[in-house]
């Protein structure tokens, strides 16, 4: 590599360059069986035990389409706002040992779903070009040398995964920042989980991301040469890969060169992309319609039924909460992502302050199991806090107890000795103190900022002493402020 290799971990690209990213995400569908045969669609560590003549591509074997896979594919298409229409399977012909037939059965010029969009948490829209059905390949393991393909002494092939149903979602090159790339992947994952068609785990390979990266001068709308990055194993890794690749392109352009259109391998350990091996003829896939399968023609009724049973998707769930509160997009996204929005909505309907509900959920319910926390107890707790009955610290404590063992917030507060301070009680104490300390009160009401601050501290300390620390700091400030006016 040249000495002009870009360094990584710079936070931003040079101002005059713009990032152009499209993402291709392969999603493993959570069906019982493979796409074309009745072999189990489940991870197995015992190689070649979930195989049959069809997924092994034995001579004479024929594929038969899995109805559930088609259903899930259409559901995903509709969830992405795509048109679902008649489609046709095609053969993509190339030789590779992980493909039992040495062609992949996929969709080419008539895919299941086209022309959708994904709306990100901050409202940005990424176009979806298509989402098509295809079969997965087997797994190859390279043995010998450094364990990497170029050093291997031989390779081993396991076809357990061959024939597993995939949907490939192809975005338009609308992504302009790495944050958006990450948000896109996370949002797609949330949708997949919401519609229950995949468990979408990048670490396990049930969701795989390839990034198409190019750059262009800011203000231009051209699409320059792009490179496809493969072997991205996490969202974080994707961010690093995109950044590296963009910089690599910029350096090339700066030197009067240009990137070659190619597929590149992301090396997470080395923090760089390397060229894919030479593929002189690999691009001529000689696509033609799969003669062993017949076209798919979903009726309008079938698509309507899918729409009718579509769950509320993350974007809509965020929007619903957003209508009720002023919480930031990050908070909304987090709460929805965790699936806590239902709880929040009910608590808000029960009268709790919406912003407070969401803030508490985001900050203090970042746990795996919050099943013991009910919306009514949450609502009650939040109200106790906003009315000043509990301090912030006390509220957090009670909340932690509710998460741990459920129960009633007032009872828990009582057990913990958090006196539920009546509003009047506090006010009486405050009035008494003001009466007992007229000079200090005068300095508070008419003094300058420095005086006011000091006196606030004085009175707060006195009130805390008088209430044995049970008064809420903010309630005190509010009361003092009210009395001063």
């Amino acid at each position: 590599m040249t000495s002009c290799e870009p360094t990584v971990h710079e936070p931003t690209l040079p101002d005059e360059w713009e990032l152009v990213v499209g993402l291709e995400v392969h999603v493993e569908l959570a069906t019982q069986t493979k796409l074309f045969c009745g072999c189990a669609n489940e991870f197995s560590t015992d190689p070649n035990t979930n195989v049959c003549p069809v997924c092994l591509g034995l001579p004479g074997a024929l594929p038969v389409m899995n109805a559930k896979a088609v259903h899930y594919a259409m559901k995903l298409g509709r969830a992405l706002g795509c048109e679902v229409h008649d489609s046709v399977m095609a053969r993509k012909n190339y030789f590779y040992p992980d493909m039992a037939k040495d062609y992949q059965t996929t969709q080419y010029d008539k895919p299941t779903s086209i022309d959708g969009e994904l709306v990100l948490g901050d409202g940005a829209v990424v176009g979806i070009e298509r989402a098509h059905i295809e079969e997965d390949a087997g797994k190859t393991t390279h043995v010998g040398g450094g364990g990497r393909i170029n050093d291997a002494m031989f390779s081993l092939v396991d076809y357990n995964r061959a024939g597993v149903p995939l949907v490939e979602v192809v975005s338009r090159p609308d992504i302009r920042t790495i944050e958006h790339a990450k948000a896109y992947v996370n949002e797609l994952r949330d949708i997949l989980l919401a519609i229950e068609v995949s468990d979408a785990k990048m670490e396990e390979g049930s969701m795989r991301v390839d990034a198409n990266v190019s750059v262009r001068p800011v203000g231009s709308d051209e699409l320059r040469t792009r490179c496809e990055l493969k072997n991205i194993n996490s969202v974080r890794s994707m961010g690093r890969a995109i950044e590296y690749e963009a910089r690599r392109h910029i350096v090339l352009y700066a030197n009067g060169e240009a990137p070659r259109q190619e597929t590149r391998h992301w090396d997470e350990e080395g923090g760089r992309s390397t060229p894919g091996r030479s593929k002189e003829d690999a691009d001529d896939y000689r696509y033609f319609q799969e003669p062993d399968l017949v076209p798919l023609a979903p009726s309008a009724e079938v698509v309507a039924a899918i729409d009718a049973t579509m769950p509320v998707l993350p974007a809509a769930r965020r929007a619903r909460l957003g209508e009720l509160s002023g919480a930031s997009p990050e908070v909304l996204a987090t709460v929805v992502e965790r699936g806590q929005d239902g709880l929040a909505l009910e608590a808000i309907e029960a009268g709790a302050d919406a912003d407070k509900v969401l803030t508490r959920l985001q900050n203090d319910v970042a746990v795996n199991d919050w099943s013991k926390l009910t919306s009514s107890s949450l609502a009650a707790l939040i109200t106790m806090e906003t009315s000043g009955e509990l301090t912030a610290t006390q509220a957090k404590q009670v909340l932690a107890d509710l998460i741990e063992s459920g129960g009633d917030p007032a009872a828990i507060a009582g057990e913990r000795g958090f006196e539920v301070m009546e509003g009047n009680e506090l006010e009486d104490i405050v009035d008494q103190l003001l009466a007992d300390n007229p000079d200090e009160w005068a300095r508070f009401t008419s003094g300058d900022d420095g005086d006011r601050k000091k006196m606030q501290g004085f009175f707060t300390g006195q009130i805390m002493k008088a209430t044995k620390g049970q008064a809420d700091g903010r309630a005190i400030a509010q009361l003092l402020g009210r009395k001063a006016n």
Partner: protein, 482 residues
């Protein structure tokens, strides 16, 4: 003896399945060295099956319709645990771990599998000269080819090694050998018979079909093998085979079209020999005498079939044969890398004709050429479908010669592929359209070798082909219905 009489004798206990098998195996022992109909005689399997049938008869248990009838299977049909080679070195010794659906149905019907028959390698050919294991000889004249690609199956029936055989037909590979060997061979409507376990050549064209010495036996065999298979997505869902029911319906009032482009007259293709045309005309006259309304009809796109076929079939084949890469089964020629191993294996394992078709098909599908060749050929297919559809509005069946000539001598057509391909000019159109067709022997040519006449019907008209075939057969036999 006909398959039906064998089945009747076995069922009644008049003969044992074992003795029927012995009789046929004796004929195999006598002539097989000369004819080479089989890649493998499956004697142990056959004996076990025959014994099983005899045990059922003894116990008074119900029998399948073909119980005790010896039957030969083309060696591109998957038979579990029994070598299935497609007459190719690349699959030499390969034992499938599963049975083709048709094989299961035949076994359930009580048939006794005599052996796996020779074919042109991967069913690519019209003479069985392309087999990697040596050619099959025509039992009627061993200096001549039996036709192809199902030459072994046709020869097995012609030599009475078995009264029934299964072949496969992609461009005429059942009908043409039937014609060359003087027996009956039929290609079903595409989708009527399951392709699960049929080692693929041209997926949108391939069909298994029956060979027999007479029309009635072929009809009975068809009824056993045909019908929907959920393991084959291209298998017709609503299809009840009833060929046997059609056998005695005659042709009174039936509208028979004589395809002008395949009739040797004005507007016809060249190369149809005079004696074949003469026999075909006699067959047509026989139909008229039996009450059919016969007329010449033009089917212009029929002649385009050859060109379209020699693009579509190799294209599909180039993809279907990619799996033979030395990785999972069959021949492997080792090399330093997997890519080199693929190449070394395929180069050593495939014969010249297979390589030629793979090359043609790869080229036709490749970037820049798809539209001009494959894309165009698929449009020609549409034209042919429309053409035939409009013809079948006015005609019930069509009649043509099955092949342009009688069986030719070995080596006569091997030098130039095109002269071999032209053999299929009459049969190919119905593979492209998916329509059924039967070849029935009708007299002999000037050289004394059999001539086959073809009857074509629209899709799902399989019964009709047997119906008309039965009348032709009776006429050919001098008016006797044997």
């Amino acid at each position: 003896m006909s398959a039906r009489s064998i089945a009747a004798d076995v069922a009644s206990g008049a003969r044992s399945a074992a003795s029927v098998l012995d009789e046929h195996l004796a004929r195999v022992a006598e002539r097989e060295d000369e004819i080479h109909a089989f890649n493998l005689v499956t004697e142990d399997k056959a004996r076990a099956q025959a014994d099983a049938v005899d045990a059922l008869v003894a116990a008074g248990e119900p029998l399948g319709p073909l119980a005790g009838v010896p039957l030969a299977l083309k060696d591109n049909m998957c038979t579990r645990g029994i070598p299935t080679t497609c007459s190719s070195k690349i699959l030499e010794g390969w034992r499938p771990p599963y049975d083709a659906t048709v094989v299961s149905r035949l076994a359930d019907a009580g048939a006794v599998f005599v052996g796996k028959t020779n074919l042109d390698e991967f069913a690519m050919g019209s003479s069985t000269e392309n087999s990697a294991f040596g050619p099959t000889r025509n039992p009627l004249d061993t200096g001549r080819v039996p036709g192809g690609s199902s030459g072994g199956s046709a020869a097995a029936v012609a030599a009475d090694f078995a009264p029934l055989a299964i072949g496969s037909d992609t461009g005429g590979s059942i009908r043409q050998p039937a014609a060359f060997c003087g027996i009956v061979g039929m290609k079903p409507t595409y989708g009527a018979v399951s392709r699960y376990g049929l080692i693929a050549f041209g997926s949108s064209l391939d069909q298994f079909g029956p060979f027999a010495a007479n029309v009635a036996d072929a009809a009975a065999l068809f009824d056993v093998i045909a019908g929907h298979d959920p393991l084959d997505s291209t298998s017709i869902t609503d299809f009840t085979p009833n060929a046997v029911d059609h056998l005695d319906r005659g042709v009174e009032g039936l509208r028979v079209g004589v395809v002008r482009e395949l009739s040797g007259g004005a507007g016809s293709v060249d190369g149809l020999s005079a004696d074949v045309l003469a026999r075909t005309n006699e067959a047509i006259e026989a139909l008229a005498a039996a009450g059919a309304k016969v007329e010449e009809v033009s089917v212009p796109s029929a002649t385009l079939g050859l060109s379209a076929y020699y693009i579509v079939a190799p294209a599909e084949a180039s993809s279907n044969l990619a799996r033979y890469d030395g990785v999972r089964y069959g021949l492997r020629v080792d090399a330093a890398t997997t890519g080199e191993m693929n190449t070394a294996t395929r180069t050593a394992g495939f014969g010249a004709e297979v390589k030629r078709r793979i090359m043609l098909g790869t080229y036709a599908l490749s970037a820049g050429y798809y539209d001009a060749f494959y894309g165009k050929a698929l449009k020609v297919r549409t034209m042919m479908l429309r053409d035939f559809a409009s013809v079948y509005e006015n005609y019930d069946v069509l009649v043509t010669p099955t092949a342009p000539t009688t069986a030719f001598p070995f080596g006569e057509r091997s030098a130039d592929p095109m002269t071999m391909y032209v053999n299929d000019v009459c049969t190919i159109p119905s593979n492209l359209t998916g329509h059924p067709g039967i070849s029935v022997p009708f007299g002999v040519g000037d050289d004394g070798l059999p001539v086959g006449v073809q009857v074509l019907a629209p899709a799902l008209g399989d019964g009709l082909t047997f119906q008309v075939g039965a009348v032709l057969e009776a006429a050919a036999n001098g008016g006797d219905a044997s």
